[in-house]
C-alpha cells in the first residue's frame, strides 16, 4: 500500500508527515535502550529482510496493491522502537532508490506501515505474552498472531486517511470492504511468514529475538579443572 505522490491532498500529507516525524522522534528516544553495538547490525538485517519481503508486490482486486509489511516481525525481533526505525528506513530507501511510494507521501507511508503495524503488532504480542504461559516455544505463534492482526489495522487507518484527504469521493463502504477483505488475506500470509521466520531464529539464536529475552533462562557455565602439563 505504498502511497504515491498526489494520492492524498496536500493538507493531509502535511499532517501525516508531522505526526510521522513525531512518532519517529519518540522511537529514536525509546530505541536508545534497545540499540547497541550488537543490535545495530540486527536492525540493519531486519530492515534488509523487510525490504526484500515488501518487494513481493502483487496487485489485488478493487484497486490497491498488496504486499507483506513486516512491522510485527520487526517489533518482535528488535523491539517496538527500533522496529519503527527499521521500517521507516526501509520506506525511505524504497522511496529514494526505487520510487516506491512518493517522497511527499513518505509521512503517510511511515504512519501506515511503520507506525501502525509495529504498534498494533507489538501490543497484540505483549498481550498474548502476558496472558499465555512463559514459554520460548510459544513466541513464534504469538508473533504470527500479532502479525496477522497488524495488517487489517493498517488497512483501516488507510481508509480513514483516504476519507479525510482522498482525491476522489468513492463510497467509503466499498473501499472499506475491499481493503479489509484483501488485507485479511495478506494478514494470513504475513502471519505465516512471521511465524516461520521467528521460529527459525528462536530455534538457533533465541538471544537475537527481542521479544523472547524475557523468557530466556540464564545458563550456568561449567568449569573443568584439568592438570596442566
Amino acid at each position: 500500500m505504498h502511497v504515491p505522490d498526489g494520492f492524498l491532498d496536500a493538507p493531509t500529507s502535511t499532517a501525516t508527515a508531522v505526526v510521522a516525524i513525531g512518532c519517529v522522534g519518540v522511537a529514536l528516544v525509546g530505541a536508545r535502550k534497545e540499540l547497541d553495538d550488537k543490535t545495530a547490525p540486527m536492525a540493519g538485517l531486519v530492515a534488509a529482510f523487510i525490504f526484500a519481503v515488501q518487494m513481493l508486490n502483487f496487485p489485488v482486486g478493487a484497486g490497491t496493491s498488496g504486499h507483506l509489511m513486516g512491522g510485527a516481525l520487526a517489533a518482535v525481533l528488535v523491539g517496538p522502537f527500533t522496529g519503527v526505525l527499521c521500517v521507516s528506513v526501509v520506506l525511505l530507501v524504497q522511496c529514494l532508490l526505487f520510487a516506491d511510494g512518493g517522497i511527499t507521501a513518505l509521512g503517510t507511508n511511515i504512519l501506515l506501515m511503520g507506525v501502525a503495524t509495529v504498534v498494533v503488532g507489538w501490543l497484540v504480542f505483549k498481550l498474548l505474552q502476558t496472558t499465555m504461559p512463559k514459554r520460548l516455544a510459544l513466541v513464534p505463534a504469538q508473533a504470527g498472531i500479532a502479525a496477522f492482526a497488524s495488517v487489517p489495522a493498517a488497512a483501516l487507518l488507510f481508509v480513514g486517511l483516504y476519507a479525510v484527504g482522498g482525491a476522489a469521493d468513492i463510497s467509503m463502504d466499498t473501499l472499506l470492504t475491499a481493503m479489509l477483505g484483501v488485507h485479511v488475506l495478506i494478514g494470513i500470509g504475513e502471519g505465516v511468514i512471521t511465524f516461520l521466520a521467528i521460529g527459525a531464529v528462536v530455534a538457533v539464536r533465541p538471544d537475537l529475538v527481542y521479544g523472547a529475552r524475557r523468557v530466556l533462562a540464564r545458563r550456568e557455565l561449567e568449569i573443568r579443572s584439568e592438570v596442566t602439563a
Binding site: 545495530a40 532508490l97 520510487a99 463510497s171
Partner: protein, 222 residues
C-alpha cells in the same frame, strides 16, 4: 560483499547530475515534488513544464531514457487504482467514448496518474544517478539522526550479504541435484529461507566484528 558497488537502479556515469552532491539532489527532489503535488489538478500546462524539467535533467545525466522508463513498472498497482476511480467514484456522471463514468473520478484518476508518474520519474532519476553510499552520506549531511543512518548503512550492506549468501546456497543446491522448478521442492526453499536469515545475520555480524577489530568506530575512514 562489496561495499556498495552500485545497485540495480544505479546507472554508472560521470555527468553533472551524477556528481552533484547527494544532499542537494534529495532537497531538489523534495522541493520539486512539493510543487507538483500543490499544483491544482487542472493546470495541465504546468504539468507539461514539470515533465520538461525532468526530461532536461535526464538528458544532461546521459542516462538512457528507456533505462528509466523500464523501471516505472513500480507504478502499475496504482495505475490500476487510478483506472478504476472513474467507475467507482460518486458524483455527477459524464460520458467518455460512449461509457458513462464519474466526472469527479475521471479528473481524480487523471491527476493521480499525472502526479504519481512525475513522482516516479523524478525519484528514478535520483536513483539512477546516485550510489547508495552517496545517498547515505547526503542524508547524513541533512542531519538524519545517527541511529537511522546506522540502520540504513547496515541495511544497504546486508542487501549485498543476503544476495551473496543466496547465490552461494543456490549453487550448493544445484550441485547436489536440486531443481527448483518442481513445486514439491518449495518446502525445502522455505526451510532454507530460515537458514538464510540466520546465516546472513551471522556473516554480517562477523564482518561487523572484524571491522571493530580494525578500529572501526561507526564512521567510515576517509
Amino acid at each position: 560483499m562489496g561495499a556498495g558497488h552500485g545497485h540495480k537502479l544505479h546507472y554508472h556515469g560521470h555527468s553533472v547530475v551524477h556528481r552533484a552532491p547527494a544532499h542537494l539532489k534529495i532537497l531538489a527532489l523534495l522541493a520539486f515534488m512539493l510543487v507538483v503535488v500543490a499544483t491544482p489538478r487542472d493546470w495541465y500546462a504546468a504539468f507539461a513544464v514539470y515533465l520538461g524539467v525532468i526530461a532536461v535533467v535526464v538528458a544532461v545525466s546521459k542516462v538512457p531514457p528507456t533505462y528509466i522508463l523500464k523501471r516505472t513498472v513500480v507504478e502499475v498497482p496504482f495505475l490500476v487504482f487510478a483506472l478504476l476511480l472513474p467507475f467507482v467514484a460518486q458524483g455527477p456522471k459524464t460520458e467518455v467514448l460512449g461509457v458513462t463514468v464519474s466526472q469527479h473520478g475521471l479528473e481524480a484518476g487523471i491527476a493521480l496518474v499525472v502526479k504519481g508518474t512525475l513522482g516516479v520519474l523524478a525519484s528514478l532519476t535520483l536513483a539512477a544517478t546516485t550510489e547508495p553510499q552517496d545517498l547515505l552520506a547526503g542524508l547524513e549531511r541533512l542531519r538524519m539522526p545517527n541511529q537511522l543512518v546506522q540502520i540504513m548503512a547496515f541495511m544497504v550492506r546486508y542487501l549485498d550479504v543476503v544476495t551473496d549468501e543466496m547465490q552461494r546456497m543456490k549453487v550448493a543446491r544445484e550441485s547436489r541435484g536440486f531443481n527448483a522448478r518442481n513445486p514439491k521442492h518449495w518446502p525445502i526453499l522455505a526451510r532454507s529461507a530460515g537458514a538464510l536469515f540466520i546465516r546472513s545475520y551471522e556473516r554480517g555480524e562477523r564482518v561487523h566484528l572484524a571491522m571493530l577489530s580494525r578500529g572501526y568506530t561507526g564512521r567510515m575512514p576517509e
